[in-house]
Structure formats: structure tokens, C-alpha cells
């Protein structure tokens, strides 16, 4: 940038304008700071293209040269539309509305009781459109964008590898996946054929469901509809929370102690189902409560008002309107029960057993089968292992997808 200050009769103060092309044009001169500000205030506003910036310059008596950088920089709207002034610490202050306002503001400034401009110093007042971001806002916006991308990257770092792994499993399993792999048994458990464990898992899920669904749903009904807010209810809630948190292997120990030994069931389908049932109970209780709590209290009160008893209200109003939510929870339980291994490890699942199953005999389950062919048995081909894993995942995800689909469908036809 070039300073076009004429140096024949050097004045003390100069007012110059910067044009869009980068040229600096002297607009006038003054003998004092106050006079210079009057000159600034007297500049015409808003005809044609306004200058990019005004310069308030103090030169030496002998030469017009000034320092390269301005002493301070301010922002104002030259059209008088209300821009933003700027404090020295960089924060945006009350807007400077036009050149009058800018001049008045500068005049009010004491500049730490020093002369407003030392020799060869200058001030720039830049034009700023109202409501355009200043430096602070730009910084904030960049930070925001960075934060968003960082969080996105974190999410991607979780989701992508997992999805990639699952895809990899499917690719590796592809050679083994066939109709006969799923629906047939092989005599020597080496070559694949997972029909027996699949059926075992099916039985395990259904029997545990028959045990846990009634207890869990009724427990949810009790907690949401009957229980008062007292220490006993809090104790039950605590028990439910902790039941959900008990490690699966501890459930297995309980199953061994209670069902296999104390109840004399031995290692059997029934003992394993009971163990899994108790393990999945808290899932059903929690989702039932959630579904029941979604029915507004006003409906219940309206029914009670009509002389309906508590149970009548529950049977005729609360349950019909929450059955879908309860069902979602029950399906969730199914998917969880289908995948569990630890609790059936010592309560009834066997590496290999005869088909068909009996309630009081050990059985095969898909999850147990996967564990066995992966770590216990030698020489099982990779694709069979991957195939078993993929079928297990597919089973669980399909059941879960069903529950999600049900939820979405029922949300779309809400009755209130």
C-alpha cells in the first residue's frame, strides 16, 4: 500500500480514505485533533460506494511519512446503519452509527491522557456492515465447527470399525452360509450344520420367556400402578437395578446353586431357562414400567372417578394402551436371552448332545456352540466358525430389528 500524502506543505493532521482498489486518497487536512474529527464528521455518508476505511493521520512538520501499522483500528458503519465499535481489548462494543457518532466517540476518548496521536501515527476506522460477524464471532464459529467435526469423528471412530468388523464377519462366513448349514445337522460337529444348537436356542428363549414375562410384566404393573412412594418401593427399585447389574457369570453360579443342585433339576434345559429367565427379568420390568408410565395419569383418574377399581382400570385402560411398549421390552428380552452364554455354561448347555431335547436333559445352544467350536474343539474350519457367529448375530439383530420396527410403527399410531 502506498501513501499518497503530498509533502510540499506538510500539515499536522490528515484525513485520508482507502478505496476498494487499495489506493489511499487524502480528503483534507487539519491543524488540531478536534478539527480533524470535525472533518471526519463532515464527510458525506452513503452516496455511491463508501470508502473501505478512513485514516486519521498525524505527520511530522517536515515529512509526510507514517508508520506502517495503524496505532489502533476501529469499526463503524459509514452509512449510519449501526455497525460495531471496537474496544481496545478486542471485544465488540456499542455500535458506532455513522461518521458523526464515530467522531464523537473518538473525541470522548482521552487516550490515557496522552495526545491522541503521536507524530507519524495513525488510526484506521474500517467500514463494517451491521450484523456481520466480527473477529470474535468468526473465532467462535470456527471453534464450533471444529467441535462438531471432533465429535463426529469420535462417533465415527466407534461406529465405523464395528460395522466394518461385522461386514468382515459376513464376508468370511459367506462360503459356509447355505441352506444345509443352517437346517441340517452333521454327525461329527466338525463340518458344520447348526440346526441342533439353533433349535436349542429357540427352546431356551421360549421357556425362559414363559417364566420371566408374566413375572416381569406383573412386577412392572405393581411398581408403576400399586407401589406407593415409600422405603419399601425404593428397596424394590434398588433390587431391580442391582439385578440388572449382577454379572452373568454370577447368575450362572446362582443357577448352579439354586436350580441345578438345590432344586434337583440337574444340568438341564429347564435349569438353564430358569437362570436366563431371572437374568432377563429386570429388562422386562424396566420396559414394562416405562410403557405403563407413558399412559397419562388423567386417564386413570377419569376411570377411578367412574367407580372402576384399580385392577379394572389397569385391565381395561392401562394395559390395552401400553401393550405395545411391553411387547417391545419382551422382544428385547428374547434377543438378550438368545445371545447369552455364561449363564447356561454350567446349568444345561452341552458341547454335543443328542437331538431332540428334553426339559430335564442338557441341550445345545447356538452361543455355546460358537464358544465351543472356537476354543474347545480343534480343526473346525474358519468359515464354519464365522458362519455360526454370523447366524447368531443375524438372529439377535433380526429380533431386535423387529422390536425397533414395532416401536416405530406403534409410535405412528398413538392414540393421544
Amino acid at each position: 500500500m502506498r501513501d499518497d500524502v503530498p509533502n510540499n506543505t506538510p500539515p499536522k493532521y490528515l484525513l485520508a480514505a482507502e478505496t476498494a482498489e487499495g489506493a489511499v486518497i487524502t480528503l483534507g487536512s487539519a491543524d488540531s485533533w478536534e478539527e480533524l474529527l470535525d472533518l471526519l464528521a463532515g464527510q458525506p455518508e452513503n452516496d455511491g460506494v463508501p470508502p473501505m476505511a478512513y485514516r486519521l493521520i498525524r505527520t511530522a512538520e517536515t515529512e509526510a511519512a507514517v508508520k506502517k501499522k495503524p496505532r489502533r483500528e476501529y469499526f463503524a458503519n459509514f452509512r449510519g446503519a449501526g455497525g460495531a465499535g471496537r474496544e481496545d481489548d478486542g471485544t465488540e462494543s456499542a455500535p458506532w452509527w455513522g461518521l458523526d457518532h464515530a467522531a464523537a466517540n473518538l473525541a470522548a476518548r482521552r487516550f490515557d491522557d496522552l495526545p491522541p496521536l503521536a507524530v507519524r501515527e495513525w488510526i484506521r476506522i474500517r467500514h463494517k456492515e451491521p450484523f456481520t460477524p466480527g473477529a470474535l464471532e468468526r473465532r467462535k464459529r470456527i471453534k464450533e465447527a471444529v467441535a462438531e467435526y471432533v465429535f463426529l469423528a469420535m462417533t465415527a471412530a466407534l461406529v465405523i470399525p464395528i460395522v466394518a468388523i461385522l461386514a468382515y464377519l459376513v464376508v468370511k462366513a459367506w462360503p459356509a452360509l447355505s441352506f444345509s448349514f443352517i437346517f441340517q445337522n452333521s454327525e461329527d460337529s466338525q463340518a458344520g450344520g447348526i440346526w441342533a444348537p439353533l433349535v436349542g436356542t429357540f427352546f431356551l428363549v421360549w421357556i425362559s420367556l414363559i417364566i420371566s414375562a408374566p413375572i416381569g410384566v406383573l412386577a412392572g404393573v405393581y411398581l408403576n400402578e400399586y407401589a406407593r412412594d415409600n422405603w419399601f418401593t425404593r428397596l424394590i427399585n434398588l433390587a431391580v437395578v442391582n439385578l440388572a447389574g449382577v454379572p452373568s457369570i454370577v447368575h450362572a453360579l446362582f443357577g448352579v446353586g439354586a436350580f441345578v443342585l438345590a432344586a434337583g433339576m440337574g444340568q438341564s434345559l429347564l435349569a438353564a431357562s430358569c437362570t436366563v429367565a431371572i437374568m432377563t427379568l429386570p429388562v422386562i420390568i424396566a420396559s414394562t414400567r416405562e410403557a405403563l408410565a407413558a399412559v397419562p395419569m388423567a386417564f386413570r383418574e377419569a376411570c377411578w372417578n367412574l367407580g372402576a377399581t384399580r385392577w379394572q382400570t389397569i385391565r381395561t385402560l392401562v394395559l390395552p394402551n401400553s401393550i405395545s411398549g411391553i411387547l417391545t421390552g419382551v422382544i428385547l428380552q428374547v434377543s438378550r436371552a438368545a445371545g447369552e452364554t455364561a449363564p447356561i455354561l454350567f446349568t444345561g448347555a452341552a458341547l454335543f448332545t443328542s437331538f431332540p431335547y428334553h426339559l430335564d436333559q442338557p441341550f445345545m445352544a447356538l452361543s455355546m456352540h460358537l464358544y465351543a467350536i472356537c476354543t474347545q474343539l480343534q480343526g473346525v474350519s474358519d468359515s464354519v466358525q464365522y458362519g455360526t457367529a454370523v447366524v447368531l448375530i443375524g438372529l439377535v439383530l433380526a429380533v431386535n430389528g423387529l422390536s425397533i420396527g414395532l416401536r416405530v410403527y406403534l409410535r405412528s399410531r398413538k392414540k393421544w
Binding site: 412412594d229 367412574l306 367407580g307 372402576a308 381395561t316
Partner: protein, 273 residues
């Protein structure tokens, strides 16, 4: 509209004897009733008799305990866990807490609250809900009952072609009238209405008021209202409550023309407080 026969002047504050089961002229009686919500007193030592087959209006500014009084009649107050009730509430001479079966009581006392609640079932089932719970399952009787209740609530004309519509899908005013129809469905002896006209247009309100006058011959109607003129139009007797206390009670004409208490006069003239 002025009642053709002025109601007899009764002393509605001093308890009359009749005893449980005996023939009493008052249908509902409150004896020294005090209700507290936690530490806040909502009703304070109320003695009041509500005569049979009359329209009894309860007026008073906000927070004066009108709704609480109403909730005591059919023990709806039990739903509020912080409420503590002391004193006696007698319906047909029987104490609602000691002598009445609460479900039977609620069937005999119809209740309409200001917030309309359509149950999430069809309009038909909304009205048929309570009779079914009470054991009425005959389809023809139910049909007749539903129609008569909906007619009385001035809703029949609007919903007769779509009785299978969800009760929650009706407009606010329609839901309010549905609530009224539901309250009538058990042919109650006592009908309690809390601000029933709040969501209903003036024309329908007038028509429902006519129905209420007609129903008076069959049941006792307790009406809580903020509309002083509605009380004056409808009620045989009016009680004025302020800050949980019964200030004055008497035949409506007398209360409105010759109030004994200054507070009452100021309230009905609209320069209360």
C-alpha cells in the same frame, strides 16, 4: 331465567339429624370438614348441608377450596397423596370414609372436572365404560343408554355418525361434553360439575344448563363455578367460599339480593379484594 317456585329457606349450616340410613332431607352433608395439603389448609371447618334434588352452586375466588370440597364428595381427594381430611362427609347419611364402599360411592356420584379427558377408546366405549364395569353387558340396553347420555350432554348430533371415533380425537369442547355424558352414564344420584362450561361455547352452555334444570328432578347437582351469573341463573342454593372458609350460604335469590356478609356482596358485585 328465574325459578318458578322459590326454594324453601333452610338453615344449611346447622346439622339436621337423621342419622345414617334414616330419612334425611340433606343429600350431602359436611361436618366440620378440614382438608390440608401438607401444611397448607385448603378447607377449614366447613359445615354445610346440600339439599336433595336441587342445584347447589359453590362460588368463590381462586384458591377458596371449591374444588377441594367437590373432590371430598366422591373421595377423589384420595388421589392427592399429600391431602389430609378430617371431619365428616356424609352422603345419604353415610360417612364416605367409614360406611361407603368407595367404588359404589363413585358410581353414585358423577363428577366432571374442568380439564376435558376423552379416554383413548371409541366415543361409544367412553360412555359405555362405566356401565360395563358395573356389570351391564346387554348390547341393546347399552346402545339406548349411550344415546340418551350423549343426547343429554348435547353431543349426540355431532358424533352419532362416528361413534367409533377415538375419544381423544374430539375437540376440547366435545371432550368436555363427552366427560359429562360419561358422568351421566351410571345414572348418578349426585352430579358434581367443576367449571363444566370452561371449554364450551355459550350457546351449548345454555342448552346444557336447560338440561341440568331438567335433571334436577332426578338428582342433586353440585355446581362449582367462577361465573357468578351462571350460579344466579341456575342454582337454587348458593354457597360462597373464601380462603377455605364457608362465608355464607342460602337460597340463591337471597344471597344475591340480600347478602348478609359484606365480603359476599363485594364478590358478587365484582369488586372483591
Amino acid at each position: 331465567m328465574v325459578n318458578p317456585i322459590p326454594p324453601p329457606e333452610l338453615d344449611l349450616q346447622t346439622p339436621r339429624d337423621g342419622g345414617p340410613g334414616g330419612s334425611v332431607s340433606s343429600h350431602v352433608a359436611f361436618r366440620n370438614l378440614t382438608v390440608r395439603y401438607g401444611t397448607k389448609t385448603a378447607l377449614d371447618g366447613v359445615n354445610l348441608e346440600i339439599p336433595r334434588q336441587s342445584i347447589f352452586a359453590v362460588i368463590g375466588p381462586a384458591n377458596s377450596g371449591k374444588t377441594t370440597l367437590l373432590k371430598c364428595i366422591n373421595r377423589t381427594i384420595d388421589f392427592i397423596s399429600s391431602a389430609r381430611v378430617s371431619g365428616e362427609i356424609l352422603v345419604d347419611g353415610g360417612d364416605v370414609y367409614r360406611q361407603w364402599n368407595v367404588y359404589e360411592l363413585r358410581r353414585r356420584v358423577g363428577m366432571v372436572f374442568p380439564l376435558p379427558v376423552g379416554l383413548p377408546m371409541s366415543v361409544y366405549n367412553n360412555v359405555a365404560y362405566a356401565p360395563r364395569r358395573a356389570g351391564l353387558h346387554n348390547r341393546r340396553e347399552l346402545d339406548a343408554l349411550v344415546e340418551s347420555c350423549l343426547r343429554r350432554a348435547m353431543l349426540w348430533d355431532e358424533v352419532q355418525d362416528r361413534l367409533d371415533l377415538l375419544g381423544t380425537r374430539l375437540s376440547g369442547g366435545q371432550q368436555q361434553r363427552l366427560t359429562l355424558a360419561r358422568a351421566l352414564s351410571l345414572r348418578p344420584d349426585i352430579l358434581c360439575l367443576d367449571e363444566f362450561s370452561i371449554a364450551i361455547d355459550p350457546v351449548t352452555t345454555m342448552r346444557i344448563e336447560d338440561i341440568l334444570r331438567e335433571l334436577k328432578s332426578r338428582m342433586t347437582i353440585v355446581l362449582v363455578t367462577n361465573l357468578v351469573q351462571q350460579a344466579r341463573r341456575l342454582a337454587d342454593y348458593t354457597a360462597f367460599f373464601s380462603a377455605g372458609r364457608l362465608v355464607e350460604v342460602g337460597p340463591t335469590e337471597k344471597l344475591f339480593t340480600r347478602p348478609e356478609q359484606q365480603l359476599t356482596e363485594r364478590y358478587i358485585n365484582g369488586d372483591y379484594g
